[in-house]
Amino acid sequence: MSITLDQVTKRYQGSPVVNDVSVDVGEGEFFVLLGPSGSGKSTLLRAIAGLTGVDHGRIALHGRDVTHISARQRGVGLVFQNYALFRHMTVGDNIEFALRVRRMKAADRLARRKELLRLVALEGMDDRLPTQLSGGQQQRVAVARALAHKPQVLLLDEPFGALDAKIREELRRTIRQVQRELNITTVLVTHDQEEAFALADRIGVMNLGRLLECGKPDELYARPATRFVATFLGAANLLLARQTAQGIRFGATPVNIRALEKIDGTREHEVVAVLRPEEIELAPTRDNLRVNYMGLGVVEEMVFTGALERLRVRLTNGAAEAQITPPGDAAASTAMLEVTRTQHEQRTFPVTLGQSVALGVRRIHVLPTPLSSYTVCATQKAAAERLASHPFLTELASRMKTRIATRTEPALAEGTDAETPISGVAVVTPGVDTAKQIEWLLRNGAAEVLVLPEQLLPPQRVLIHWANDAARRPTLAVAASLLRHVSAEAVYVGILPEGASDTQRPVGMRTLLDARSEAQAMHGLEMRTELRFGSAAEELRRQLNDAPDQMLILGISDLADLHQNFAALFSTPPPFALMVVYRPAGSSGANER
């Protein structure tokens, strides 16, 4: 491997800007770090270059651990966003700088300089001053300079940011060409997904300091695992859907299409569906659709963009209630779908503004991650609304780009079943009989229950525990999904009964290690592990009482567990946040990842 990053973490004033990033970049690979500004990608690049140190983790270049080696000795080439050319030196002197520092002979320097200038197509520009060059030319000089000392890796920090579109494209080609010719391992940082697609062998998408997903451009586009990647890589319509054994259903409308991914599990549950605009088809009526019907709509907006036509269609029937409303945006609550059509499609069925159309969908991708949406449940409306504006909850929902629904559910206290099933994560405040409430919610369709005390600061530490092996995978998936949006330390607490026999102990240990490696391998979740002895509920309660600002994620596969094994947790209303994950035994619950 050319570049190996192993759990790299970098904090500024306590908060992580690069959070536990591990990735391998292969020999000669062109790797693009993509993310919005402030996502930590530039910091990560500077860490690879040695311009900033890391607080945790390891960086290796070509197998050599360089974590503690200075930038001068790393032998990387770095191209800066604003070129950072030495303005008092000529182009030639700029390029030769690294060679001069290494005391290379003048003749060799000259030869190398000529070679590099040819490579970036700037022959004969040796004696110009950088100020006499155009922006694009300056950037070429910067690339040539970074390559002069034959670095092991080439790092580019938003190299095209200051250039106009045409030069940008030309320069992209040059860089791709140079990279192929030299077969040099390259990492490029950008916030422009188009650029990433154009250049990358592989893309790593970063947000909030975390490397969310890595993959080939087409795979990432077609099958993103997270909401963030789905929306960041091109336009995407996100809809809440219900996953049933028959297929996907938006609200009352069943779409006779199976998600491409094989989704196992027997229990119907809520999922997030990704519909790319180009996968949606329009027709005058339902019968004219050549693909699966998903609803009716009205064309609200049309923009012609050359090859494509971009439409916004308001759903009037069908999947309307499934639309994920951006949190806090009440005005946008009417469901809008973004649709793009090719010229061929336009000719087949021309539309005008205000026209009613039938919508069909060719392909639906279901995000494998759990935690689709939040539904606040309370017996009274006021209480529900108060809980819905809980700072931690709203913060979480906005980071996850999902919605918070409220539901007044008098039945919650009485114990009779709900009229319609509850979707996604149910949220309640702790009460006298929290265990009973949780059980009721889980029985009525909720996949997870979040118990949220009114006074709560964002947790600093998240404890993870599951009742039995069956609950392990879903619990880990939920924990990983949640922790992507919360900057807190994760700890798995394994608990063996008091007086566990000597034969049990190694098993307990192994469970612990397995849990950790599974979290890391499948979810990229770094967690610590602790092994305790005693009653699980009491042990957890004691730890949670030890310090404030903690959260517990508890996985169960049997509702009876709540009253039998974990009753001690609910003996008084829990003062900490609690997420209960329930997947009945026999199903593996939500997808793995």
Binding site: A49, L51, A71, F80, F86, H88, T131
Partner: protein, 279 residues
């Protein structure tokens, strides 16, 4: 007009330029012209006699020499101070940063008296230097000290923005290219700061040459030894020798003007390069 200035849609060129030039003429140029005219009343021979008078030469040597030395000291220490203020954070940094402007605001006579009190042989600092045989007050060293104080803000204030601006990326670039601390300083930082340093240096120098108030208290004023050129102007005036005073003043003015013009040309040139880079 079109060849005189490049077109712009902004209004007020004639008004503001006219007002500026008028005010400049009334307040600066006509009075200075009086000086030139006064000098012109003496013939070439007399003019040269004044200039080549050994005492005048000696005072010029001291004024220009001490200013040069003071500006050089300011160049070195001003750089160190600017660097410290821009690159390090330490308690009291803001206070010191604010105090740098003090010599601008302090009346020069007060600076002179206070410096003399401090550096005289019985002063706080002078008494510690005396055992080593170093005399500051009433020697040419005193002149240098006073001029250094006067020129300090010019140098520090010129360098500070230059150090803040572009340097960081350039230094990082040099570091990734394998340059060590010293190489970065010598090949990157110094060349980029040089224009600003030069500006500050020249301003400090020009101001030092003309400085009177603070210097006469600490200089000792011995003819041929510690007598500065502005004092000689005053001496000429005491003898009602206006023409002689004007002649010395005129010469100092010419030297100052040439120096200032050259930095401003240098800066305009530098800015043009800079602007070109931005396009």
């Amino acid at each position: 007009m079109s060849s005189f200035r490049q077109p712009s849609i902004l209004p007020g060129f004639g008004l503001t330029l006219g007002f500026s030039v008028f005010f400049l003429c009334a307040l600066v140029l006509i009075p200075l012209a009086a000086l030139v005219m006064k000098t012109a009343t003496m013939g070439w021979d007399d003019f040269l006699n004044v200039l080549f008078d050994p005492r005048v030469l000696a005072s010029f040597r001291l004024s220009f020499g001490a200013s040069l030395l003071a500006a050089t000291l300011n160049g070195i220490f001003g750089f160190v101070i600017a660097w410290t203020l821009v690159r390090y954070d330490f308690p009291g940094r803001k206070l010191i940063d604010a105090l740098i402007d003090m010599p601008f605001a302090l009346p020069t006579a007060v600076s002179g008296i206070a410096l003399t009190a401090v550096f005289a042989e019985n002063g706080w600092i002078g008494e510690h230097l005396a055992p080593f045989g170093i005399k500051v007050a009433y020697t040419w060293i005193g002149v240098v000290v006073a001029l250094t104080l006067i020129g300090l803000p010019f140098v520090v204030r010129s360098i500070q923005p230059a150090l803040v601006e572009v340097q960081r990326d350039l230094e990082d670039a040099a570091e990734t290219l394998g340059a060590g601390r010293f190489t970065i300083f010598r090949r990157i930082i110094l060349p980029t700061v040089t224009p600003a340093l030069l500006t500050g240096f020249t301003m400090a120098f020009a101001r030092g040459v003309g400085e009177y108030g603070s210097v006469i208290f600490i200089a000792g004023n011995l003819p041929m030894k510690t007598e500065i050129a502005p004092l000689l102007i005053v001496i000429k005036l005491e003898q009602f020798d206006y023409v002689g005073a004007a002649a010395i003043g005129f010469l100092m003015l010419v030297i100052s003007f040439v120096m200032l013009l050259s930095i401003n040309l240098l800066q305009t040139w530098g800015r043009r390069r800079h602007v070109a880079a931005g396009r």
